[in-house]
């Protein structure tokens, strides 16, 4: 059966590996989204724009001569003050209203409009692409895979593990989870809720910025890029269970694999409706997602 093995090796295997690289990209964007939701209960509609700001930040700093490897650390750090400012001066103002889900969602939606326009004013409408720091391809199972994508899978895995360790294994993470579970109780135990909230929002924003740096060489950089991953990221967060870190990882990989394999069989124009269909079905029958929420499970 040379045909079948050929197909498995040269079509299906690379397809799944590509899907994995895409899955890691989606997870990187979705991680911040799920942390912000899990802790602050905020549907951050401007999350895609933080991803774009991170990518443009990397582009600008790279042009100024900053080394790429330094950017991976520098850009997320620079995103932190932005996150703190947005949380302190905008989100917190509506946070204690009756419909905080609605008002924070609307607020971040308005922010997304403004950020996108600002990026266009500063950088112009055209596409840019930072130089790929790792060129060339590596042979995996007899098929060439770009080395940068393999690096992306590796660093993505490292980031995911690091985030999980911070959230589940450190004192800081314990404070965060306590605040997510019951903010009044946590406050009475001496947790400074205000700082936890600012910190968690900024952490999510920094993760989006990191995703921007890492993905810029692969997906290029332009003002409306924030819209790209956000739908997929939302879907992953919902399917995985809003606020669940492992849920995001598993849903991210599963959904991108479904997409990758489905695109071999059906016309890819139906990939989007299928992914949204999965989202709607999960919302209908298991709205809490496959895994529980942060602090609750």
């Amino acid at each position: 059966m040379p045909h079948v093995t050929d197909y498995l090796q040269f079509v299906l295997a690379p397809q799944m590996l590509n899907g994995l690289a895409l899955g890691v990209s989606v997870i990187l964007v979705a991680l911040g989204l799920t942390i912000i939701f899990g802790l602050l209960d905020v549907i951050n509609m401007s999350h895609g724009e933080y991803y774009a700001i991170g990518a443009f930040g990397a582009l600008a700093l790279a042009l100024a001569g900053v080394n790429y490897w330094l950017l991976i650390v520098l850009v997320p750090v620079l995103m932190v003050p932005l996150g703190v400012l947005v949380e302190r001066f905008l989100i917190r103002r509506v946070y204690h209203g009756a419909d905080r889900h609605v008002s924070t969602l609307l607020l971040t939606f308005g922010l997304a409009l403004i950020f996108e326009d600002l990026l266009k004013i500063i950088f112009g409408p055209n596409t840019h692409r930072p130089e790929n720091p790792i060129r060339g391809a590596t042979e995996v199972l007899g098929v060439l895979i770009p080395t940068y994508r393999l690096f992306l899978i590796a660093i993505g895995a490292a980031v995911i593990v690091a985030v999980a360790l911070v959230v589940y294994r450190t004192r800081l993470g314990a404070m965060v989870r306590a605040a997510a579970y019951d903010s009044n109780m946590a406050a009475s135990l001496g947790v400074r809720i205000g700082w936890v909230y600012s910190g968690a929002f900024a952490f999510g924003v920094a993760l989006a910025g990191l995703a921007g740096v890492l993905l810029a060489p692969v997906y290029s950089v332009f003002p409306t890029m924030g819209r790209d991953f956000i739908l997929m990221a939302f879907t992953v967060v919902i399917v995985g269970g809003m606020g669940s870190i492992w849920g995001v990882v598993i849903a991210g990989i599963a959904l991108t694999q479904v997409q990758a394999i489905a695109s071999l069989i059906i016309s890819p124009v139906w990939a989007d409706p299928i992914v949204f269909g999965v989202m709607v079905l999960v919302l209908m029958f298991r709205p809490q997602g496959l895994f529980g929420r942060l602090g609750h499970a």
Partner: protein, 342 residues
């Protein structure tokens, strides 16, 4: 007995009367000066106001945020366009669009009303995305190009008949239809059943104890909202002569949301004011600067932060105080004005 909800509705009706007056004066003056564009722009604003009204029924009264209300607007618009291309008949198009919106609203309601809160927002968003994508990929529906060639309609209204091309005539007709939709929704909310819908927002878990089904109330509100959006949508191709998938996209739903927030959530009439303000604003600043997104986004954020009841919040409290005082003066002995609801 007069209560807070009734007083609140009276204030809305006062503001609606003001809108009608302003609309009539505008119509008279515009047609006297031979204007075409602003009349048609105002007509579009009212049509979009219908979509905003539909968002406000859910957001303002049941507390459910729909991020995909443009779905029903789009269904109304596409059905109306398809009917008009085949048989240019006003009532047939409105009837078919209403029927389609009813069916779609029931199906969508059965899906969406399984969940609440943010999940409701996301499920409505997902449904709208799916349908918009399907339309976008379906060649029979014009795919990404949409459908042009919706004929200029001759609208028979009893003894008179006029063309949809007549800017004043179609403006007035749209005004009447949107006014009827507003009136019908306001009436519905004042009936005992409507009060159950309002009670959902205040405290859903108590509703069953009063002997009502929360699910049925939410479902009813959802279907009514779908109908309102669908009927408004049916008017769109009559005005513009075409439909395109963008009418169903998130940008469309998002715009309606901005209109409601700027106008004032939970006031119904605020949705119409918001639609007029935003449509005119976009037309004007769009010509002045290419960065209109910043302006619109800024106004939107400012409304959320500083005007929790939108533009209506600026005038309505004073009106309500006056109406309350009047009601108390008229019924001094019963002391029956309940200030507790809401």
């Amino acid at each position: 007995m007069r209560d807070r909800l009734e007083i609140s509705m009276q204030a809305n009706h006062g503001l609606f009367a003001a809108l009608v007056t302003a609309g009539l004066i505008f119509g008279a003056v515009a047609s006297a000066t031979g204007d075409v564009f602003y009349l048609r722009l105002a007509t579009e604003a009212l049509i979009l106001g219908g979509l905003a009204l539909s968002v406000d029924i859910l957001l303002g009264f049941t507390g459910l945020l729909s991020l995909g209300q443009a779905l029903y607007f789009g269904i109304g618009a596409y059905v109306s366009a398809l009917v008009l291309r085949a048989a240019p008949d006003f009532w047939l198009a409105i009837g078919a669009a209403t029927g389609a919106a009813l069916v779609a609203g029931i199906v969508g309601g059965l899906i969406a009303n399984r969940v609440r809160g943010v999940y409701f927002a996301l499920i409505t968003f997902g449904m709208a995305q799916i349908v918009a994508r399907v339309v976008y990929n379906t060649r029979e529906l014009g795919a990404s190009d949409g459908l042009i060639g919706v004929p200029v309609l001759e609208i028979p209204l009893g003894p008179v008949s006029f063309s949809a091309d007549d800017p004043l005539g179609f403006f007035l007709l749209t005004f009447v239809i949107i006014g009827l939709l507003y009136g019908a929704v306001a009436y519905l909310l004042s009936t005992p059943f409507g009060r159950v819908i309002v009670a959902l927002k205040a405290n859903e878990s108590r509703v069953p104890y009063l002997g009502y089904s929360a699910w049925a109330a939410r479902m009813a509100a959802y279907v009514v909202a779908a109908l309102v959006a669908g009927i408004a949508g049916a008017l769109y191709p009559m005005l513009r002569g075409f439909v395109s998938p963008e009418l169903m996209f998130f940008a469309s739903s998002g715009n309606a949301l901005i209109m409601v927030v700027v106008g004032g959530v939970g006031t119904l009439v605020g949705a119409l004011y918001g639609a007029v303000v935003l449509t005119v604003l976009k037309s004007v600043i769009g010509s002045l600067t290419e960065h209109h997104l910043i302006v619109v986004g800024g106004i939107f954020i400012a409304a959320i932060l500083f005007m929790p009841k939108g533009l209506m919040g600026l005038v309505r409290p004073a009106m309500m105080r006056w109406l309350l005082a009047r009601a108390e003066a008229r019924a001094p002995r019963s002391g029956a004005v309940r200030r507790t609801t809401q």
